[in-house]
């Protein structure tokens, strides 16, 4: 291990020298038209790298003199890499962020305020999500929703009606119980036990995660307990337990692909992976209890406040998030949805098959549950609720105990 250190240092030194040599003649040209901007992303990782390249190529064609250098990282490593780059002052000119982290980055001053040339191109709610005091600090690059996937063959075999948009938890529970056949390894419904599911089921039950002013949690109520019980109670009844593998990466999607799962709560980014499933499947809006609430996730790109090429970087950020090339590329590839205002542009999306009921994606936008966001302690808050819910799922705590403990711990974090 230690041996690599001097080698890397040597290479880095050599690279610096080379970069120095290469840069000096360019500076001498004085025209200052040739600009290279860097873009660090996770959105193209895992199958959409070539689609991103196509968008970059179109941008470079339209903007001679600007070159975009792309770095792609897996989602799991991206946050750590971005923070390290920010700390070291080596952050890319343009970089991906998620909605949940926007507030923290904006508050810490790493995002440049943007002059958006065509704000009308964007879906207003999404543009709004990345604005602070009326100024855009990032541009939405895509959005996706979470829906309920179902294996139609398993529904047929159990003699059940397919799920519809007006299903409630009770309908899902009944169908899941009818489909579950533990001896055959077939399970009724899978929903991860995590922060990302919990804030949503809270809203499906008319509750919310944080108080209105965002200074404390609001989930330790009878309705919040009921929502948590709905989530963790699936484990061991209609969903495998942790010991059976639940919660490990890709466990749920593999189970679905093997034809051994009746219903799966996951994002529309799985369409591509399920396209070749050897059974009939479709999607429906997720059932609620007292109201419908679907998770909507969006990604965005920010321009570094320390960038030396803010103008060129903003140009690229706008192209990446609102150009027709981007819309066509995304719809063609079934890569998350483009954040554009023009509904007609999305028509081709609805015409495609697999799944047939793509209308559910847009119907799910009628009731949206956005992740609760705090400026400090976001990750810790997410970790704590996830950990406590898993304690309840494993039966080491009652749901009441877990939520009371989560309330105390998260409030301590939020109080600083």
């Amino acid at each position: 291990m230690n041996r690599t250190v001097p080698v890397v240092a040597g290479l880095a030194g050599a690279a610096l020298l080379l970069a120095g040599c290469a840069a000096s003649p360019a500076e001498g040209d004085a025209s200052a038209e040739e600009v290279t901007i860097t873009y660090s992303n996770f959105i193209s990782n895992g199958g959409n790298e070539e689609n991103l390249e196509a968008i970059v190529a179109a941008f470079e064609d339209e903007n001679p003199g600007i070159t975009v250098e792309v770095t792609t990282l897996p989602y799991a490593d991206y946050g750590t890499a971005l923070q390290t780059d920010l700390a070291a002052g080596s952050v890319a000119d343009v970089f991906d962020i998620e909605y949940a982290n926007y507030a923290a980055y904006q508050a810490n001053g790493v995002l440049a305020p943007l002059e958006v040339s065509n704000p009308d191109a964007y879906r207003p709610s999404l543009l709004e999500a990345y604005s602070t005091d009326g100024t855009s600090y990032a541009l939405p690059s895509s959005f996706s929703t979470v829906v309920m996937f179902y294996n139609a063959d398993l529904f047929d075999a159990a003699g059940l009606e397919y799920p519809t948009a007006d299903w409630t938890w009770e309908d899902e529970r009944a169908a899941a119980e009818a489909i579950t056949d533990e001896a055959a390894g077939v399970w009724g419904s899978h929903q991860p036990v995590s922060f990302y599911e919990y804030y949503k089921v809270l809203e499906q039950n008319g509750e919310s995660f944080l108080t209105d002013d965002g200074t404390a949690v609001a989930f330790n109520t009878p309705g919040g307990i009921e929502a948590a019980e709905w989530l963790v109670g699936k484990s061991g009844t209609v969903m495998p337990t942790i010991e059976q593998g639940q919660g490990t990466p890709d466990f749920d999607t593999n189970l679905f692909l093997e034809g051994k799962l009746g219903m799966l709560h996951t994002g529309i980014w799985m369409f591509g992976a399920f396209a070749d499933a050897p059974f009939a499947w479709d999607i429906a809006v997720e059932p609620g209890n007292t109201e419908q609430a679907s998770a909507v996730f969006s990604n965005a790109v920010g321009v570094s406040a320390s960038s030396e090429h803010i103008e060129a970087a903003t140009k690229w950020a706008e192209f990446l998030t609102s150009s027709q090339v981007m819309v066509d590329t995304r719809l063609d590839a079934g890569w998350e949805l483009p954040p554009v205002a023009d509904e007609a542009a999305l028509a081709t999306y609805l015409e495609k098959d697999a799944p047939a009921n793509r209308q559910a994606v847009f119907d799910s936008l009628d009731g949206v549950a956005l992740p609760p966001v705090v400026a400090n302690g976001q990750t810790e808050m997410q970790d704590i609720i996830g950990e406590e819910l898993v304690e309840a799922q494993a039966g080491r705590k009652s749901v009441e105990e877990a939520l009371a403990s989560a309330e105390e711990r998260i409030n301590a974090v939020l109080a600083g």
């Binding site: 750590t80 390290t84 942790i242 990750t379």
Partner: protein, 323 residues
């Protein structure tokens, strides 16, 4: 390198190396000034390749960590000086005690297992066995394998429902534990995988120690009627004590710094049951935006390791026998 060189040095010392092996280039008082400068430059040239990385990547960061530990810093916003607040809040936080307890628990499980395992292997492979080199190679293989690979394999072996270990236990009529999904078994799972991976390293060190023992001692003991146990107890173990000392010191230092296997096997879970000090340093820095506290915690860890090592070096006089 230095780790593997040490027992070699011990072995050589046991042979009482002749003085002719000492470097002959030591400067004498009568030499010219130019010659002394030249000598110093040569020494410096040989030192630089390791001194520069050491300064850049070890000493420098350690000093920087002192500076960071005195600040509130989330890696993104400018640093804010807070004096010793980070140390105070760590001492007040029950999580700090927990992560040190978990780390010590790991060492208590790991050290005896890896030492006894390494000793048994070394004793076995010190015999005139057929294919001895091959066996040594096989047992050393895990040492040079990436922790990520080893951790994934062990996660799979110890999978509560589909793993080989629990399947085998079920065949014997035993209901296997939940291993890394059970808070009580998460740390034992990590200890098991760690001992398996490191036992080859301990074996190599102890083998070198065994081979430095003068065979005449055993012959003399046999003549005096000492049986195998007596020879092990009265000759092998005392003569091996310098190697044992080295293994214990290195294993304790590594044990306090345990991280890779925890990160890859349990991530500190379930419910924080296997959260160790270095994992906590990582989480504080990269997940919770508390790089100042993380730097403070890393200096606390350094202080603990230093104290434990000093105690061992003082204590060695009681039980380590250098020939």
């Amino acid at each position: 390198m230095s780790i593997l060189a040490a027992p070699q040095a011990i072995a050589e010392a046991a042979e009482s190396a002749p003085p002719t092996r000492m470097p002959a280039a030591a400067p004498r008082a009568g030499r010219s000034r130019a010659a002394r400068v030249r000598y110093a430059l040569v020494v410096l040239a040989f030192l630089l390749p390791s001194a520069i990385p050491l300064a850049l990547f070890v000493i420098g960061p350690m000093i920087a960590a002192v500076w960071i530990s005195l600040h509130d810093w989330n890696l993104i916003a400018p640093m804010r000086f807070v004096g010793l607040d980070n140390f105070a809040s760590l001492l007040a936080d029950p999580a700090t005690g927990d992560v040190f307890l978990h780390t010590v628990g790991y060492i208590i499980g790991y050290l005896p297992l890896v030492y006894v395992g390494g000793l048994l292997l070394a004793l076995a492979l010190n015999q005139a066995l057929k294919g001895r080199s091959l066996w040594r190679g096989i047992y050393f293989l895990p040492v040079v394998t990436s922790w990520i690979v080893v951790a994934l394999v062990w996660r799979w072996l110890l999978n509560p429902s589909t793993g080989i270990v629990n399947t085998a236990l079920a065949g014997l009529g035993i209901d296997g534990p939940g291993w890394w999904t059970d808070p009580a078994w998460a740390m034992p799972s990590i200890v098991l995988a760690s001992a398996w991976k490191d036992v080859g390293f301990v074996m190599v060190i102890l083998l070198a120690g065994l081979q430095a023992i003068n065979p005449d001692l055993y012959d003399a003991a046999r003549v005096d009627g000492a049986g195998p146990w007596r020879r092990l107890w009265s000759i092998t173990l005392p003569m091996l004590s310098p190697s044992t000392f080295f293994v214990v010191v290195i294993s304790l230092i590594n044990g306090f710094q345990v991280f890779d296997q925890v990160y890859a096997m349990t991530g500190g879970g379930p419910g924080g049951a296997s959260q160790v000090v270095v994992q906590q340093i990582y989480d504080l820095t990269f997940r919770y935006g508390a790089a100042g506290e993380a730097a403070a915690l890393s200096w606390m860890l350094f202080a603990v390791i230093l104290a434990v090592t000093v105690v061992q070096i003082i204590g060695q006089k009681r039980w380590v026998h250098y020939v």
